[in-house]
Amino acid sequence: MSRVGYEPSYQEKTVTYRRVGEGELFTDPDVDRAREYFRSKSRAMVPKVMTVKEAVSRFIADGDYIAVGGFGGTRIPTAVLHEIVRQGRKNLGLSGHTATHDCQILAAGGCFDRCDVAYVVGLEARGLSRVARRRFEKGGVKVTEWSNAALAWRYKAAAMGVSFLPVRTMLGTGTGAASAGVLMECPFTGKVFLAVPALYPDVAIIHVHRADVYGNSQIDGILIADWDLARAARRLIITTERIIPHEDIRDEPGRTVIPYFLVDAVCEVPYGSYPANMPYEYYSDERHLREWLEAEEDEERFRAFLDRYIYGVTDFMEYLERCGGIERLRQLRAEEFCLRDERRDS
C-alpha cells in the first residue's frame, strides 16, 4: 500500500555494503561509547575560565586526536596552537579540515603523526608550507584522505549521535579509495552512497567572538564547521576575544552557537586568531604570514623564527607584542573594515 505516492518496491531489498576506502580510521565512530562518555561529562554551570597554558596541560594529552575550529586562515585559536607547540605535545591525531596556518603551526612543532586530510600543507593563495610538506613527505605522518564536505559531515554525524552519514561525494576517485568510507546501497531507492563515519575528536579548540565564564559562546559571521564540531568533540576548549556578562547571553539566546555544557575551558585571548582573520574584528596579517613562509626556506632561519615567536615567549600577548603590538592590530582592524588596504603597500 503506497501512502506517499512512492512505490514501496524497496521492501524486498537487502542492503549491501562494500568497503571502498583503504584508509585507516583514526577515531572511534561508535555512538554508544560516545554516549557513555557524554553521560559522564559534567553538566555543572560553573566558571571555567583559565589560562591557555592551563587549558592545554589539563585537556590535551600526547596521542589525543584534535580538531581545530575556523578555516585555517580565519578564526583559528592561534594561542592554543602555539601553546601545544610550546608544551611539546607529540603524536597527536589531526583533523585536516582546511588546515592551513593551523597545520603549519602544528607541523612546525612536529606535534602530529596522523591526519585525516581534506586540505593540508597549503595556505590557499598564499602558497605552500615547506615545513608542513616535508612532514607529509618524509615525516612519518600517516594519512587518510577525505574532502572538506566529508569531514564537515563526519562532524555532523557525530553531532547527531549517529555513526555514519550517507553522502554523494568522493565516489569513483582516489580520494574515496584512500578514505575510510564504505559504499552502501540506499534501502529506499537502491542508489549508491558513500557512508562516512562519525568523527568524534578527543579535543576541539574553537575561537569565538564572545563567551561568558561558563562557556556559552557567540560567533559572528560564517560558522564553517564549528556548530557540529563543538557538538562532536569529547572535550572542548574555547578561546574568546572577550568574556561577556552571563546576562548578555540570556538577553539574546538565539545568538548562542555553543552552550556551556559542551565546554571544558574558557580562555580570554584578545586578538586570539592573529595572524588569521577574525571577522568584524581584524583582517589577516599577510605580512607576518609571508614572513613565516619565507623563514621556512632555511632550517636555521626557521629555528630562529620559531624561537622568536613561539618558544621564546611566555604567552600569546608577548607574541602579539613581537608582531607589532597594538599599532599593527589597529592597522589590521582598519583593514577588516576596508578603511584602508594594507596589501597595497606591503
Partner: protein, 274 residues
C-alpha cells in the same frame, strides 16, 4: 610577462581599438562569459573569483556567488585571500557554513563551480593530492581535495581555469583527487555520482576546451587569437579531439579589460601573475 596571445593581438576589422592583454586577463575574460545571468556558482579564490566578479559586472549581474566555507551573495569589496575570509560574505545575504554550501550542491541547486589543480587528464579528472606512487610517502605532497572533490561531484557544471602545458595536461594522473568523467561515458553514474553532472569547460591560455558528448573526452572548442593547433598539441600530454573548423575565441573586449583592471583586481593580485 607577455604571453603568446598578448604578443599577437587579434585583427579586428572594425570596432574599438584592441587593447593588449596578458594570458591571465585573457583566461579570466573568456571564463566570465560562460557564467549566465541568474545562475549560482561556488568559486575559489584567485582567477575563478575574478571571473565570477567580472561576470557579475558584465554578462551576469544577477550571478549568485558562493564560497565553500559559508559565504553567500557577497558584494565583494576586494578580492578575498581565502575562501573563508570575511570578504566572502561582505554585505552578503547569508553567513552560513561549510555543510550548508555543500548541501546546496548535493541537493542540486548549484549550477557552476570553478576549480584548479596540478594535473588534469582527457576526461577532466583532477589531481591536487600528490606526485608519486605511495600516498604515505609521496614525492611531492599537495594540499588534497579541500572542497574540490565535493564541488566536482555535486555541482551541475564544473569549469577549470589553468595554464596549458604537457606536465599539467597528462595522460595519466598520479592520483584522482576530484572526478571528471572518470574512465568515460557512464562512469560517473556507475560510481554513484549524480547524473547529469561533470566537467563543462576548461579555459586555458591557449584555447577553450569542452567535452565530447559521445566519448566524454576533451574537445577543443576554440583557439585563442594567434594560437595554432600545433602549439596546443605540443602543450598537451594526450590526444585532443577538435571541433570541425575550430573557430577563434573572441578576444577580451576593451570593456571587459577595463572592468577587470579597474574594478575587479585593481591591485593586480591575480592579473599581475599573467
Amino acid at each position: 610577462m607577455a604571453s603568446r596571445a598578448a604578443a599577437t593581438p587579434a585583427k579586428e576589422p572594425a570596432g574599438p581599438e584592441p587593447v593588449p592583454y596578458n594570458r591571465m586577463e585573457l583566461m579570466i575574460c573568456v571564463a566570465s562569459r560562460y557564467l549566465e545571468n541568474g545562475a549560482t556558482v561556488v568559486v575559489g579564490t584567485g582567477a575563478p573569483c575574478a571571473a565570477a566578479m567580472l561576470a557579475q559586472r558584465t554578462v551576469a549581474p544577477d550571478l549568485m556567488i558562493m564560497f565553500e566555507a559559508g559565504g553567500i551573495g557577497p558584494i565583494l569589496p576586494t578580492m578575498p585571500i581565502s575562501v573563508g575570509d570575511s570578504r566572502t560574505y561582505h554585505r552578503g545575504l547569508v553567513a552560513s557554513s561549510m555543510a550548508e554550501i555543500m548541501e546546496h550542491c548535493q541537493r542540486g541547486l548549484i549550477d557552476y563551480t570553478f576549480l584548479g589543480g596540478a594535473q588534469i587528464d582527457m576526461y577532466g579528472n583532477i589531481n591536487s593530492t600528490m606526485i608519486g606512487t605511495d600516498l604515505q610517502h609521496p614525492t611531492v605532497r599537495f594540499p588534497g581535495s579541500g572542497g574540490a572533490n565535493d564541488l566536482a561531484s555535486l555541482c551541475w557544471r564544473t569549469m577549470m581555469i589553468t595554464v596549458q602545458d604537457p606536465r599539467r595536461f597528462t595522460s595519466r594522473l598520479d592520483f584522482i583527487t576530484s572526478p571528471g568523467y572518470l574512465t568515460g561515458p557512464g562512469a560517473r553514474e556507475a560510481a554513484g555520482l549524480p547524473p547529469g553532472t561533470g566537467p563543462y569547460k576548461v579555459i586555458t591560455d591557449l584555447c577553450v576546451i569542452g567535452f565530447d558528448d559521445d566519448t566524454k573526452r576533451m574537445k577543443v572548442n576554440s583557439l585563442h587569437p594567434g594560437v595554432d593547433r600545433r602549439t596546443v598539441e605540443e602543450r598537451t600530454g594526450f590526444e585532443l579531439l577538435w571541433e570541425a573548423d575550430t573557430p577563434v575565441t573572441d578576444p577580451p573586449t576593451p570593456e571587459e579589460l577595463r572592468v577587470l583592471r579597474a574594478e575587479v583586481d585593481p591591485y593586480r593580485y591575480i592579473i599581475g601573475r599573467g
